[in-house]
Amino acid sequence: MTDITFTDQNFQEEVLNSPLPVLVDFWAPWCGPCKIVGPIVEELAKDYAGKVKVGKLNVDENQNVSSQFGIMSIPSLMLFKAGQPVKTMVGAQGKESFKKGIDEVLASA
């Protein structure tokens, strides 16, 4: 497993304090499209190893973080840079589409 599990407890440390940009997959077990996105996120974790930290956050079990960042739709992929959410991608999309979003943020140094 190359991807990480984020929680209300470790979010500050793992995401907000991370020196690398962080991609967070907000998901829940009862969400069909989340199951489509899950394996894509695992591939993204491999593709961006060393460049972006990638992990998942279960919105059922971690409601503080979810509401703090205004998650109202899942799956939502949120990219954090220097502790700030800089990009949100909502809904099931293809890997290429997610990559485009991530690359845009990485390019804008």
Partner: protein
């Protein structure tokens, strides 16, 4: 070279794949980035025979996929981009630039949910605007929401939301629903759901998230504003046919059917919501998928003997 390429991975596409693989035809399913079709966005499916207690939509699709794979279907999660249907074998291209050749094709690309196309909607998708109550209802605990639409999916969205939300306004353009009677009854008997007929949402307001909507009464033309936290859109579907150059479609964009499940192109067959504007059920899509597969099999046999 494939015997059959199936474009789409909803009930129509995957049922077709089960039949073509069992007929020993080399089969590729171009499943799309979001494989599994509309059932991936539903909760319990109660009207698919064989599951007396109902089955979760995503689970049903996972089962169908496993069944198709078990019989040897090759499934790729890429989007179909374009096809060369003017000469045989057909050449199909996916969005990652790969091309595939096949003797026959089954188009089962389905339909996608439509949005309202009103000001304020697009920028608030994921910020209170949704087309999947099953996915997003949990974020609207004790909140007030609007559901737009008059068919079974609108009823289902309203009912799913009623388990957690405080109040649901079910907004519909006409003065009656076209949903099935059992779904309408459940909605009418649900005290959290208020039905607003002859009404349309004309604008969605809010800074970071949905805060209120503007509602127009289509009979009196009166406008009112309603504070709400969420809007769930279930106003129907549009067939996914824009990429099929050379294949006949009707005035609404559905693929034109000749003789049950044939398109205007010899060797290209069609199944499911991409041509079916009448029934649009999981089980009818499966049925159409089965029929198209049998027809493709017959067609390939005639070609071989020629």
């Amino acid at each position: 070279m494939y015997d059959v390429i199936i474009i789409g991975s909803g009930p129509a596409g995957l049922t077709a794949a089960i039949y073509t693989t069992r007929a020993d035809l080399k089969t590729l399913v171009i499943a799309g980035n979001r494989w599994g079709g509309q059932l991936q966005l539903t909760s319990v499916v109660e009207n698919f025979p064989g599951f007396p207690e109902g089955i979760e939509g995503p689970k049903l699709m996972e089962n169908m996929r496993k069944q198709a794979e078990h019989h040897g279907a090759e499934i790729i999660e890429k989007d179909f981009e374009s096809g060369e249907f003017a000469k045989s074998p057909f050449t199909l291209k996916t969005t990652d630039g790969k091309t595939f050749e096949s003797r026959s094709v089954i188009v089962a690309s389905g339909a996608d949910a439509m949005w309202l196309n009103v000001p304020g909607e697009k920028e608030k998708i994921g910020r209170g605007v949704s087309s999947c109550a099953t996915c997003d209802a949990a974020f609207f605990r004790n909140k007030n929401v609007v559901v737009v639409g008059g068919g079974d999916s609108a009823m289902e969205e309203a009912l799913v939301l009623s388990r957690v939300a405080n109040k649901i306004y079910l907004v519909h353009r006409r003065d009656s629903f076209r949903a099935s009677e059992i779904m309408q009854k459940r909605v009418r008997e649900n005290e959290k759901i208020e039905i607003l007929f002859n009404s349309a949402i004309t604008e969605i307001f809010g800074e970071m998230k949905v805060e209120k909507v503007s509602l127009t009464n289509l009979v009196t033309n009166e406008n009112s504003e309603m504070p709400v936290d969420g809007i769930f859109v279930a106003i129907g579907h549009r067939p996914n046919t824009s990429a099929f150059t050379g294949i006949d479609v009707d005035e609404k964009g559905y693929i034109k059917v000749y003789d049950h499940n044939k398109t205007n192109i010899d060797g290209v067959f069609v199944a499911g919501d991409v041509h079916d504007r009448e029934y649009r059920q999981a089980i009818t899509a499966s049925g159409f998928g089965c029929a198209a597969a049998l027809e493709a099999e017959r067609w390939l046999m005639t070609k071989k003997s020629e």
